[in-house]
């Protein structure tokens, strides 16, 4: 990879210009408005990063997101293989899944909060429901995409049905599952934050709600900025894991040669 300093300089300049512009607007024309200046936000970011509450919030947010994602992946892949392997199952669930797919988990948030209260468990259930459907559907597609010749070859070599599932069907469904996970991982983080913000579940979402309700705007902005960085880390991490696990697949082999 060639190092090109010029675009980097413009990019850094762009970020700096945005921050300076923000500071000028907040100090000048918008001095009476609730918009805090960038310097105040940076200051309260420093304060917030020094509190143990912040770090336990961060741990709760990441922990709930990962737990929800992990359980959803496990359940989604198992259910997806089941549904994808048996035709009647697939047709029976098609309409139901297609109906539920475009409905975001925030819709059932009031119900889950009512039943479970503002707890970590509530956030986890919400993340699970938000992530499991796309994973099921992608797994079903992946199972269907399995090369029938590979399947028949495995069968004529005398492999048993569970072995075919584990060695032929699952690997060929992996890229589909990978795509689903890449979409689901940032979504898990977003849902955890939503569950905290609207449902009072533990984590950064709840802190943001409290900062807003208390009128502590610098902290509010600082926490939202932290979420922005966290979101980028989540996206980067999933891409990295996907590339590591699927390095053998065509779509990734290309990238390795380039």
């Amino acid at each position: 990879m060639k190092f090109r300093p010029k675009p980097l300089i413009t990019s850094v300049a762009g970020i700096l210009a945005a921050i300076v512009l923000w500071q000028l607007i907040a100090v000048g024309p918008a001095a009476d408005s609730p918009l805090p200046p960038a310097s105040a936000v940076a200051e309260s970011l420093g304060t917030v990063l020094g509190t143990s509450l912040f770090w336990s919030d961060l741990a709760a947010t990441v922990g709930i997101a990962l737990l929800g994602l992990g359980t959803a992946a496990l359940a989604g892949v198992v259910l997806g293989i089941l549904v994808g392997s048996f035709e009647p199952f697939r047709y029976a669930t098609l309409a139901v899944l297609e109906f539920l797919k475009p409905i975001p988990p925030i819709v059932i948030l009031p119900l889950i909060v009512l039943v479970l209260g503002p707890t970590g468990q509530m956030s986890w259930v919400l993340v699970f429901f938000g992530c499991v459907l796309p994973i099921i559907m992608q797994t079903v597609d992946g199972v269907h995409d399995t090369d029938p010749v590979a399947r028949d070859t495995a069968r004529s070599y005398g492999l048993k049905e569970p072995e075919i599932l584990a060695r032929v069907v699952l690997p060929s469904a992996m890229p589909f599952i990978g795509t689903a996970m890449r979409v689901a991982a940032p979504a898990a983080l977003v849902i955890t934050v939503v569950a905290g913000l609207l449902g009072g579940g533990p984590g950064l979402g709840r802190s943001i709600y409290q900062a807003q309700a208390a009128g502590d705007y610098p902290t509010l902005y600082a926490l939202v900025a932290v979420l922005g960085v966290l979101g980028l880390l989540f996206q980067g991490a999933t891409r990295l894991v996907e590339g590591k696990l699927l390095h053998w697949h065509e779509s990734f082999r290309e990238a390795a040669h380039a």
């Binding site: 990019s11 945005a18 139901v96 475009p102 913000l197 609207l198 902005y221 939202v224 922005g228």
Partner: protein
């Protein structure tokens, strides 16, 4: 043929069966969380048809359409600029990626702090949140336009307008539409969230207020309505997409058949 009919019956029958099961199983229910479906539907009719139809349902939908419309037009336009002007890309890209990492719902408290709980806040949150998916997809779509196409446009001395509407827009169309679809989902989520956070009007506000005052059947009615809207919005979008991208979907089918 017989098999096909069986699949049809399974596909259409399962949702009916599930609904029937829900009806029968909940009929004698005295649980505070799961009222009988009959009661939910009665409340659905009483609430949404027509007592609160204009004051809440139409209001929510208008906010959604307005915010989403602004975001779509601005997203495509900004996407064009960022993709075609290298300096703009270098300056804005890191900023955009950072903002994209922020969970869209976390922007709602910021807008509340800036412009209060009014309708403007809701429309602005919806617009800003659903801007990013469309914009990023447009940038990606335009950057992956076949260089041959660009050369041909140049050889034919297309004007900028002609190039924009006859070359770039159609070539990037499929990707722009997938961005628009994500944008619609985000807009829908933020519509609900902006109403749930301290507003008194709209479907989301009615649903969360019903939950907080333990009017479970009303809450269920809200969840049902939101679910139906989420599904219907996606369906309408898909119909439009199929119409606009008919040429693309047709060519893909031909390519796959070959």
């Amino acid at each position: 043929m017989n098999r096909k009919a069986l699949h049809w019956i399974l596909g259409a029958g399962t949702p009916v069966l599930l609904l029937a099961l829900w009806w029968i199983a909940s009929e004698q229910s005295t649980s505070a969380f799961f009222p009988p479906l009959r009661v939910i539907l009665e409340r659905f009719q009483a609430l949404w048809l027509f007592e609160h139809f204009q004051s809440d349902v139409l209001l929510s939908l208008r906010n959604l359409l307005l915010g989403y419309g602004v975001a779509s037009v601005a997203g495509i336009a900004l996407g064009f600029v960022i993709a075609l002007v290298p300096v703009a890309r270098q300056i804005l890209e890191p900023l955009i990626h950072f903002l994209r990492g922020i969970p869209p719902v976390a922007l709602v408290p910021i807008f509340i702090s800036l412009i209060g709980f009014g309708i403007e806040m809701r429309v602005a949150s919806i617009a800003l949140a659903s801007l990013f998916p469309t914009m990023i997809a447009t940038v990606d779509g335009i950057r992956s336009v076949d260089p041959g196409l660009k050369d041909v446009a140049r050889v034919y001395r297309f004007t900028t307008t002609e190039k924009t509407f006859r070359v770039y827009l159609p070539a990037a169309g499929p990707q722009i539409f997938s961005g628009l679809q994500v944008g619609l989902q985000v807009a829908f989520i933020v519509m609900i969230a902006s109403e749930m956070l301290g507003s008194s009007q709209g479907i989301g506000a009615m649903t969360i207020l019903a939950q907080q005052s333990f009017m479970t059947a009303d809450m269920w009615a809200g969840i049902l309505l939101l679910g139906v809207i989420g599904f219907a919005a996606n369906l309408i979008f898909d119909l439009i997409r199929r119409r606009v991208l008919a040429w693309y979907i047709g060519s893909r089918k031909l390519a796959r058949a070959a």
